[in-house]
Amino acid sequence: MSAVYWILGIPFAGMLYQAWRGDAPQAGRLNTRLCGLVFLASLVLAAEVLRQGTIELADLQFRVDAFNVYLVVLTAFVGTTTAMFSAPYMANEREHGRVNAARMRLYHAMYQGFMLTMYLVLTTNNLGLMWVAMEGATLATVLLVSLYRSPESIEAAWKYFILCGVGIAQALFGTVLLYFAAGQVEGIGEHGLQWSVLYAHAADLNPTVMSIAFVFLLVGYGTKIGLVPLHNWLPDAHSEGPTPMSAILSGLLLNDALYAVVRSKMLVDGSLQSPLAGHLMMGFGLLSFLVAALFLHRQRDVKRLFSYSSIEHMGIMTFAFGLGGPLATFAALMHMTVHSLTKSAIFITVGHAAQIARTQRIEHIRGLMRTQPMVGWGLVFGVVAIAGMPPFGVFTSEFLVLTATMEEFPWLTPLLLLGIAVAFAGLFRHLHPMAYGPQPAGQAPVQANLWPVMAHLGIVLWLGLSIPGVLADWFSQATRLIAGSAPL
């Protein structure tokens, strides 16, 4: 039995069990173990793909290739470490009376449910099912965003629900158009939504219909990626929900939405023979990057600050995927990895920092270095990494994006450099007083599990210093799938 079934089955069973017993004292630990099991299964799956190439299952409903298998492993890894952090964090929140037993059940069940939808997005071969899973992810997380039931969190959840729901409906229209285009081609018939079949017939699909479809798909899934001007829900949802959820939203959901766009782009490129799709993505990506970098400066809420940073980095990735070409695609894939790892690590430290200061307001979070040096250092290293400083991996991937831009669109390089500088300044002016600064009276350390942070940042550092052979090989394979040729 293929590991895909385990990867989908474990979170499903976990969701049902946690809905029943998710308030038990050991539920947090069970959550971690379930995610850990899926992580092991994902490694098995990766080994399978490495050994025998692309896997297709269940009448082509599931398909795992070099591109999505590494995202499955990444998703499982970040899901597991975030679950490790979430167990003591949510126990602490419960002690402070912010959540009760019923909401703990909801939280744990929806955590597993969200992981299930993420794995389904990544492994399914059916573009329709991918949409269903994406909408399912919205439904699972909307209840998590409103978990604290404060007026702010309910407002954020409502905004998230409506904007993402309407946004993603556009993606469904794009999917219907794809199916319509496939219906015009002989020999596709019933399989008109299966990605591998469509990809094989990409050249026969009608270019006009495909370009209209791509616009809808980009706008639809772009809402979910948080591309400007469709990003309004993102800072609210990330800042008002429980912190573990911010970590998985930033680290996983945005990646998976981008994955959907890149898959669509591969189809449209095959049909259109023109760079329309890439140029659209470049425009949206660059706009998101610049706008988010500017917004970093005026944030007062620490989680909002880092959610804008997420928009900024998703912008870079969308830009790089749009740029196309082996080098930019390689850089984008690497950036997806290092951003997920760094951003979830940052949200974990930020969660602890907010619990230490008992608020998310930046001006009240002070002197972390004195109160709990581990949290302070975690935040400093995390921000250094996400700002793109060497020797962390984010530097490497941003450098590669810049190199690729210089080759193809040299006149865009100054804009990118400017954005990176503005973002750097925005992050550091907020970081300095939070980490150093005088310590407010009555601030006490909290029980924290910083192993996930160290593991994530350690990997990001490692990727900055040297990319291990297996991974480089993997990125190259995925690049060959997306861009048509290997970068090296």
Partner: protein, 225 residues
Amino acid sequence: MPVPAYSVYEQAILFIAALVVFTSFLMLGQKRLSGMIHLFAAQGALLAATTALAAYTLPYPHLYISALIIMALKVILIPAMLHRLIVRLDMHRDAEPLYLYGYVMMAAAALVMFSYYVVEPIEHLSTLATRNAMAVSLAVVLLGMLLMITRRQVVTHVIGFMAIENGLFFAAVASTQGMPMVVELGIAFDVLVAAVIFGVFFFHIRSSIDSLDVDRLNRLSEVEP
């Protein structure tokens, strides 16, 4: 120019398509929440009729199942649920003020024309009936969005959202003879769950801001005091 000959099926689809857009316009002009819910149910019924018609005429028997699902979900279950909610929230007699009614209607008409313009390149690909169905469903999607933009009432937003899904279903049924069954079941499941969550949210929003007016959901903003 010869008038194209339509089969009875195509004529029926065109007729229903016109009625579907008409219900969207009626929704834009409807003040009362209960009237809105009835219109939504009527649109669902038209959708179910289209699907059943397609199943009857074309060799796609699985569309009968889709028709049944649409009937159960969009004509009976969701409208009944919404109706019960507004009765429980004591809003079933509420009327919502319509702002800039004339402009909204003109914008709606413009959106319908825009939809035909967008779908125009598809014209030579397929029969005229299909093209009409595509344009109509895009129009219903856009009119649903317009409804959500111009209204302030949370319940109306939900109905606009569901009307958008109706438009998408219409596109799937009338132009591509329905999506594969597994996808359709998935979408139906999502819609059902979304409806339940919406119901939960009505009470949360009501208890947090003591009304269901989205203008009062304004705590989160970029510019802080």
